[in-house]
């Protein structure tokens, strides 16, 4: 498989639970590197991951992971991927190092290698000192880390991380994100990070697939998605009458997209090359004073909100 080829592709995948469609004709591709799977709760992110792992058989559609067909080679795929589930999950009655080594053996590592890798991976995720403790005595943050360790122990080519920072305190969350970022950018592990937390995805991932109501709302490299097709300005104005509606109407009539965030403050999207000059011209024509004008940098939050149809 060429290095630039997508690690995961979905082609018209539909999954329904009873009569509810969890995924509707999803067609998308996940590029190598770190890709965020963004979406509000219930958007179908976890369902998508579980379908790729073969836990759920889709009603229709085709999926390929690392170049292999999910319907034909599920075991070969699972030998090459790691999965960190969203919920608390462990093998009962085991200490951390036994648990992780056991997962390594299940993934096909020889016993000695599995044990050695278990120690290494536990140190890597920050559980080195607690590796002989029973997993059931771990805190929520530690349980998140051990889930990452068991997903990593067999050195997967692709990691599925389902809400990896769930329930973690701010420090633990930062450390987890640092680990995820290091894996993707320094250790050459491809990963798909499912989250509803935009800053987590923005910090760790290069590309994003935004899902909403079981469908892909938008997808692509984060940098490209954040690149506006025009310019966004934050604007504060003053009118002699105190009426801003006619000015807003004038802006809209000129084809500018504007949202009033406060009485006299608004965010205006100016398409094309016109920029601030066009704004000033319209303000002059409407006899409005521009008190403040600042170019606004789009965030992933803007991309997300736009994709899912929020203002």
């Amino acid at each position: 498989m060429p290095e630039t080829a997508p690690v995961v592709t979905l082609d018209n995948v539909t999954v329904t639970y009873a009569k509810n469609a969890a995924l509707r004709d999803v067609t998308t591709a996940f590029a190598p590197g770190a890709v965020g799977l963004l979406g509000p709760n219930g958007a179908g992110k976890s369902t998508l991951i579980k379908t790729l792992l073969g836990f759920i058989v889709p009603d229709r559609g085709q999926m390929r992971v690392l170049g292999l067909d999910v319907a034909v080679s599920p075991l070969e795929i699972r030998a090459r991927v790691g999965y960190m589930p969203e919920n608390d999950a462990h093998i009962p009655g085991m200490n951390a190092v036994s648990f992780v080594a056991y997962c390594g053996e299940l993934a096909g590592l020889p016993r000695v290698d599995a044990m050695q890798r278990a120690h290494e991976v536990l140190f890597y995720v920050g559980l080195g000192e607690a590796r002989y403790r029973n997993v059931e005595t771990y805190s929520t943050g530690m349980k998140q880390r051990i889930k990452l360790a068991q997903a990593l122990v067999h050195d997967p080519d692709l990691l599925f991380l389902d809400e990896p920072t769930n329930g973690m305190d701010p420090k633990g969350r930062d450390e987890m994100l640092e680990l995820v970022r290091d894996l993707a950018h320094n250790k050459g592990v491809n990963l798909i990070l499912s989250s509803h937390l935009l800053p987590d995805v923005e910090y760790t991932c290069d590309a994003v697939v935004v899902m909403d109501k079981g469908a892909v709302a938008t997808a692509g490299p984060i940098a490209a998605l954040k690149q506006p097709r025009g310019r966004v300005y934050e604007l504060r104005v003053k009118t002699s009458t105190g009426d801003f509606e006619s000015f807003l109407g004038r802006l809209r009539a000129a084809g500018l997209e504007c949202h009033a965030t406060d009485e006299d403050v608004m965010r205006v999207f100016v398409p094309g090359e016109g920029g601030a000059r066009e704004l000033f011209a319209l303000a002059t024509a409407e006899r409005v004073q521009v008190r403040h004008l600042r170019p606004s940098v789009p965030t992933l939050e803007d991309v997300f909100a736009h994709a899912v149809g929020e203002e």
């Binding site: 836990f55 759920i56 030998a79 299940l106 096909g108 590592l109 290698d113 250790k187």
Partner: protein, 280 residues
């Protein structure tokens, strides 16, 4: 600078081909049970009937004056396997109740099934744990008793006269163990509480036996013995060991009930062992 970098490293070794995961599960399950003192105590206790029977064989062979009282006959082995049923029950409950229930409680199924492991391999790996221990308290000591008889008698006369004993012990022990293990594993997949599973298993065994007991009194016949799973097993045991049957039910009916129980257990396991739980 650290002497040894404890960061993440890529793995350069070889991985086993798929299809061997069940052995990992079985090995780990057996190891974890043997690490429990209470279970080791239970295993030791389950061997007491073996030692008692070994002493009986020793006395019968070396002191012929004991006559019929301690004589070694083929039905000794049948009786021994009957006596072991109580230990089969305790070991099934102790080992089997939590086999899948505990995994379901800890959401471990999604960990298992995200590895290169089929559902069948997972079930077989779990089943093999229980089967191994149950054979250890039925088939193994029964065969050892045959060896003990040969050793104390110093000849093969008894064995050659009763050549059917080895296959009879083997077939009966495997039918018993397969039925019990499959039923317990299916029950274990139905709940997240091993305690509840243990109670359910005991209820199935005792309830079917109790219903049969009541119906025997009411109908004054043993034709309804197929209701009771212990009775079905006993019926088959009598046929396998060439002994007169205690029940009026034809043995194929008893066999059908046992096969039916194993099939239903397989169906339950197929439905319950999944990577996700969908509540429609």
């Amino acid at each position: 600078m650290p002497i040894h970098d404890q960061g993440y490293r890529r793995y350069g070794g070889l991985k086993a081909r798929t299809g061997t995961g069940w052995m990992v599960i079985t090995r780990a399950g057996i190891r974890s049970q043997l690490a429990k003192r209470a279970f080791l105590g239970l295993l030791l206790l389950s061997f007491l009937p073996f030692f008692a029977r070994a002493i009986q064989i020793y006395l019968a062979v070396n002191f012929p004056q004991t006559g019929d009282l301690l004589a070694v006959k083929p039905d000794l082995f049948r009786q021994f396997l009957d006596q072991q049923q109580i230990w089969v029950f305790f070991i099934t409950v102790y080992v089997g109740a939590g086999l899948i229930a505990n995994d379901r409680r800890a959401n471990a199924l999604q960990i298992y099934l995200s590895k290169p492991l089929t559902r069948a391999e997972y079930i077989f790996g779990k089943l093999a744990i229980l089967i191994a221990f149950l054979l250890l308290v039925t088939w193994v000591p029964a065969l050892l008793l045959l060896v003990v008889q040969i050793a104390f008698a110093g000849n093969f006369t008894f064995l050659l006269k009763n050549l059917y004993l080895f296959p009879a012990i083997t077939v009966f022990a495997f039918i018993q163990v397969t039925m019990v293990a499959a039923a317990m594993l299916a029950l274990s997949s139905l709940s997240k509480s091993s305690r509840y599973v243990a109670i359910l298993y005991a209820a199935v065994i005792f309830f079917s036996q109790a219903i049969y007991g009541v119906l025997t009194v009411v109908t004054r016949s043993t034709q309804l013995s197929w209701i009771s799973f212990p009775a079905n097993l006993s019926q088959l045991g009598d046929v396998i060991f060439r002994m007169p049957s205690k029940y009026e039910t034809p043995w194929p009916v008893a066999l059908l009930m046992i096969v039916g129980l194993i099939t239903v257990s397989g169906f339950v396991l197929e439905r319950r062992v999944r990577g996700i739980e969908v509540v429609a």
